[in-house]
Amino acid sequence: MKESLGTTGLLLNEPLLWEKGKKGRCGFSLPRRDVEPCSLDEEFMGEGPDFPDLSELDVVRHYTRLAQWNFGVDTGMYPLGSCTMKYSPKTNEKQASLPGFTGAHPLLPSGLSQGALNMLFEFEQYLNEITGMYATTLQPAAGAHGELTGMLIIHAFHKKQGSKRSKIIVPDTAHGTNPASISLCGFRPVPVTSNEQGILSVQAVSEIMDQDTAGIMVTNPNTLGLFEENIQNIAEIVHAKGGLVYCDGANMNAVMGMVKMGDIGIDLMQLNLHKTFSTPHGGGGPGSGPVSVAKHLEPFLPVPRVIEENGAYILAQDYPDSIGKISAFHGAFGVVIKAYSYIRRMGPENLKKASQLAVLNANYIKEMLKGTLHLPYDRPCMHECVFSDKHQAAQKIATLDMAKRLMDYGFHPPTTYFPLVVPGAIMVEPTETESKEDIDQFIAAFKAIANEAGENPDLLHHAPKSCKVKRLDEVTAARKPCLAG
């Protein structure tokens, strides 16, 4: 193996914000006072918050040091399965910070916000094209928010038909947000198990699909990184009983330009712009989770809708069957700008190429590591592959130990212990933006760790050793929560 990426740099300690500073300092250039002071009625006056007073440099050093304790895609490979941690192009950030966009008030008259409306309108068309759907809303703020929007639309659809259905079918491989979104909308999730190949069988769905079932929520490609091959037949069964087919499109990065969900029986789906369309994850958001729907569901989309009228873009409110509003304003506009920029920079050919290379990278890792790690479903995968720690069990090494040891080698670990159907799951999603050299180094690191598991297991049990902190006591953190200082 080449020299490991992981090393020990000089990291500086940094206290909590309120352990720094001195009363009377300020890191904010207060604007000139050009009006008379005017006191507020005592009755309403508070004391003001107890914030530390810091100088600008205090603040700058604080956050610079904190940043250095973090790891991002720009630092190194971040193969977190189901999260699509691809490179976020810098030009996207630049476009989103144009003053006409950052400064725009959401309630500006439409005549004064044509550029933003134009972009929202066009972007919806792009997503319609990529998903094969008829219409799109950009209002949902993340993937789970899109799922909720989708469930609300399904609810509204049945209500309009005068029927009240209580259940939604959801596979056991589903992301936790799926059952949570289902029940948030008042439906009851009905689990369906995937077959020995890791996908849904037509039979399993037909056994439980009934007139009280509002629809099915399938992730495709699913969370095992496998394409749901029976999707069209499953959709037929669900439709025949009056249900709708929702697709969790968080894994769309595998099939852009290869599969149009609207063509294969899907009625509605969400996309995660912070995954497939390269917007950065920000340590946990903001994201954006647009929902695209087939024609029969368009009337139910959230309002307002951006429409074109006589060459101008306006916000239309008049959709009596709409589910209403899901965000206060237009959703995560600043995130949409980045995804829009990405699609414009990529163009149709490169989007398809990106999916192909994402699938190439994942299959390559699967092939190269499958002797080292147990591979529960040994078949061609899509954009991610799922291993387990079964081979290491005899050495008393668990997924957690290998994940932590990868940090010492300079890699962010893959997703661990998800999906739940694979005990000790290790879910690797390299994305298309990792080069062969980086992937080879990741593979070499994993192999070296598997060797260490036999030769020096303590290295793994005590990993990581080169991070800012060692393994943290999560049990006490939850038992005696300290959530504020």
Partner: protein, 443 residues
Amino acid sequence: MIYLPHTHEDIFSMLQVLGVDNLDDLFSTVPEDCRFNGHLNLPEALSEWELNDHMSTLSNTMAVSPEYKVFLGAGSYEHFIPASVSYLLGRSEFVTSYTPYQPEMSQGTLQAIYEYQTLAARLLGMEVATASHYDGATALAEALLMAVRITKRKKVAISSLIHPLYRRVVQTYFEPAGYEVVELPYLNTGVTDDSGLDDMDDLAAVAIQSPNFFGCIENLQVLGQKTHDKKALFVASFTEALAYGLLKNPGSQGADIVGGEGQSLGINSSFGGPALGMLASSKKHMRSLPGRLVGKTKDLDGKTGFVLTLATREQHIRREKATSNICTNNSLCALAAAMYMASLGGTGIRKLAQLNHDKAEYLKKELKKAGFTITFDRPTFNEFVVEFPSGFEANHKHLLEKKIVAGLCLAPYYPELANHYLLCVTETRSKDDMDALVREVKS
């Protein structure tokens, strides 16, 4: 394409390892009749330079400061953001990391969010604040759902002076699950009319926004008392977080749960998003909170560190029984807010809030002098309602041509308030801007 690193040789050698001939063969598990064999009908790729031109063209059509004088608030506020905040927020270690599932490699995000939770809790006068939600509207909806869970009651009363768009989001969240939302009317003093509460039973929560949508400061303490007398939870909401630099915070007035919008704290308007949903509660209800929480703990060597905690409330553990479906939140916006609050400090936020208040008072006074009616004489923070003469709509349009956006027309939201406008002034509007506005509306 510069974002795709694979050379022909790379692809060739990787395909060889997989034993297939070309990239299409990798998709053998996708049934033939599921494949799209055409070409996506999307615009052809632009170079970086072409994209710059295209985007500046779009951006240049937008009416923004300093060219336009925009007197709009109503849930999105223009405040100065220090260069240091924007600069630090661009650090790619923060920007390009995921939710901190692996704490040893994410201590930067984790400590920063723990600090955000602390500053947010102090600002709102609460014991615990979550790591962030999508926006003020969804934070309020989740606060009310939380109250429904805690009290096991299905009805909430919400003030009609909560932001109209927030109320619509609450309605959307509540309807399918069969929960009921009752609206409390408002008095002609510009505050919530709570008299209807006397006849309402079995309420999970009463929700009040202060400063309310008209900018008026509500008497939270009295409303909170009344809510508690009904054994309901008191939910406070807000759209202008900066107000609490000057006003009594909701916690000190008896709020059990607080859900509102933190965009004012160092986050650009950005056409309404991404924003910052702030949600806070007392410790007693901490385990019913939706969303991520960061907690302090120790590592194996006894060194202080931070982790995501109380995960058994969350969707990835509890699935359909979770306290919320939220996964990705608005972490980077919370980080911006923390940086902003740290930059202001206790001394700075007080001064800045006072300045916001005083500027709005100046404009109020000048408009009064010019003969316009200030509809509600209740104290306000940085926005207020003014009544213009009938037919002002045309004048409002005309002012747009002069690059002045003279507030928000209230009639679409409150049909009884024809010719009433909600005007907002922050520290970014100068005395000259305000004088110009008064001159123009007069003429």
